[in-house]
Amino acid sequence: MTAPSSPTRRRLPLLLRAVAYLALAVVGLTMLTPFAWMLSTSLKAPSYAIEFPPRWIPSEPATVDIAGQTCRVATLADDPDVRVALLRYSPRGVRVQVISPASRAGEQALLSETSLLPLRQVKFHWENYRDAWRAQGVKVTDALLGLLPRADGFLVFYLNSILVSICVTLGTVFTSSLAAFAFARLRFPGRDSLFVGYLATLMVPSIVIMLPVYALLSQLRMTNTYSALIFPVMFSAYGTFLLRQFFLTIPRELEDAAVIDGASPFAVYRYIILPLSKPALATLTTFAFLHCWNDFLWPLMVVDRLALKTLPIGLAHFQDSYTTDYHLLMAASVIVMVPVLLVFLLGQRYFVRGIALSGLKG
């Protein structure tokens, strides 16, 4: 790959610009292909989900109803304007009936198969989404703490994911911003070593932390509860670190006047720091939400009741039962992915800034 090697902000010469676009486009296409394939397969009829060579636009043989019988449609090889319905096959050829042009409609003839070109029509099977959503066999009972006595699988997974993600995100932003304020603005003995302790745990593989918590929860018979899904992931060392980095960039002079006027630390936090930190809070909100929404391992460990599954493990369960129904699997994947993409597109600015912020002083 010939990447333009001068990363200046000046404009590139035309030729290099063309090469750059080409490289960007090739990578972009590679990135999009699996998503496009997912979307494409999700709209195909079951029998046409697996085809070689692959078709990108879902299509299937065109059909027409003739006297209560569903017939395939073809055009004549030597006259593409004539469309015929294939009535029946016989050893001598195919019995066909003209359907267009209108002037010749109804004429019948016996033609050899080679003189016919089968016609395909583009058809999107939107009902795949409904079927995946209803996911026969995944009728869930007593979901949402009994509020939903019987409900469709994906509705339950969705509600669970929304509930858990919102609780975790609110909890993370609330507790992290308080702690970050203490680390960034208050002086107390042991502050810096405590903060280093926080940071050091970011290096610990998550499974090290999960195993004992899982053991404790299963001892307390608290697996398969919302608490198990929410509380252990709500106190983020990363969030504290991120917000502290941001709080440090807020000039102290802004609060000096308030402090001289006798404002309490809480007032400073509430009325000066928080309003000035909206971008950072938005960053953490986006991060925490997406992370929680996509989390797989922790819910997998602590939940095996259908009624409590979140979308990722619900989708994994769905994959177990519909291993070969690619059209449904892809539809379900799209269903799971859409809200994430929306949140990302809305919060993209904050997301990118947050990564940069955590890297600069890391």
Binding site: P34, L194, T201, V208, P212, T240, F296, L297, V340
Partner: protein, 331 residues
């Protein structure tokens, strides 16, 4: 990073310190309690449990506790890391562990490729071109997508059955590759398939954004001065961009190693696509730990493997800090 933890609330020595703590505590407490309960203590507990034979049996009373959790010293670690003699040969006590450690390290071979790719993409994205934001968004999509959904579609892409050909092999066939590999079904190709998939998932992600931020922090004047001195594009890349990006590279390498050992994406992939197969070819340490804890309920042994994983991450990070730090050029 190697500093030891201080006690979270050291006994205040002076009234002033006590006052400072009283002031800070309401802010710290919600997060600190959660941090202690769900991060700090579990880490200690993991090391503690690794010295026991606990098998997740229910414990209802103190007597149960004494019966169910037996201190076994370093038995787990001997079983995990030790060797014994069998018919004149030295054989690992837990040969699977070494194999899965090998798998984990093999799959981490994709990391340098991924970092290099991220750097190249960031260089491209840093150009003044129209529509750059769109490309950046597209490159980032795999990172924000649900790993489960991504893995399911990749399974379908890599699929290969006698009369069902996945997208990748269809394309390969059309480009004239006559016997495309059975990616997920063969011992030889399963790991490369995982590496390709990980590359796709990570190359435009966090590392790329970090590099882009690093690039945008390099002052324009440096390039102008270099250009005046007659430095060509390659020289500028080699002597300005690369050294000035070294703190970013250091950070990116550190985080990638940590993430590589954890391999949460690879865990999801192995769990849903291959169940660690064929014949253990895609089983990583994470999956091995998961199986011991969740499938076989041998929590003591699982925590021992987790501790070893932790020490590995720690060791690699330490090496990276000692030697990588020297290569970093700080302005």
């Amino acid at each position: 990073m190697s500093q030891t933890f201080t006690a979270p609330s050291p006994p205040p020595r002076s009234p002033k310190a006590a006052r400072a703590w009283r002031q800070a505590l309401p802010f710290l407490l919600p997060n600190l309690l959660g941090f202690l309960a769900f991060t700090f203590l579990p880490i200690l507990a993991c090391f503690g449990l690794s010295l026991t034979d606990y098998d997740l049996a229910p414990i209802a009373s103190l007597r149960d506790l004494r019966e169910q959790i037996n201190f076994v010293g370093l038995t787990n670690f001997l079983r995990l890391l030790g060797w014994h003699r069998e018919a004149g040969h030295l054989v690992a006590n837990d040969a699977e562990f070494w194999r899965y450690l090998g798998n984990t390290l093999f799959l981490m071979l994709g990391i340098p490729l991924s970092i290099l790719g991220s750097l190249l993409l960031a260089l491209l994205l840093n150009q003044r071109l129209r529509g750059i934001t769109l490309f950046r968004t597209i490159y980032f999509l795999p990172t924000v997508s649900s790993a489960v959904a991504v893995v399911i579609v990749w399974k379908w892409i890599l699929h290969q059955q006698p009369n069902e050909i996945g997208l990748l092999n269809s394309l390969l066939l059309e480009f004239g590759v006559h016997h495309p590999p059975d990616w997920l079904g063969s011992m030889a190709w399963a790991k490369p398939a995982f590496i390709i998939m990980t590359l796709w998932a990570t190359v435009g992600g966090y590392n790329c954004v970090l590099y882009l931020a690093g690039l945008q922090g390099i002052p324009e004047e440096l390039y102008e001065a270099a250009a005046l001195d007659g430095a060509g594009p390659w020289t500028r890349l080699r002597h300005i961009t690369w050294p000035l990006l070294s703190p970013t590279t250091f950070f990116v390498v550190t985080m990638s190693i940590i993430a590589g050992f954890q391999g949460s994406f690879l865990f999801t992939a192995a769990f849903l696509m291959t169940a660690g197969g064929p014949a253990g070819a895609t089983t990583t340490l994470m999956l091995y730990i998961y199986n011991y804890a969740l499938s076989w309920h041998q929590l003591g042994y699982a925590t021992a493997i987790a501790c070893v994983l932790f020490l590995l991450v720690f060791g690699f990070t330490l090496i990276n800090w000692r030697f990588g730090q020297r290569l970093v050029h700080y302005e």
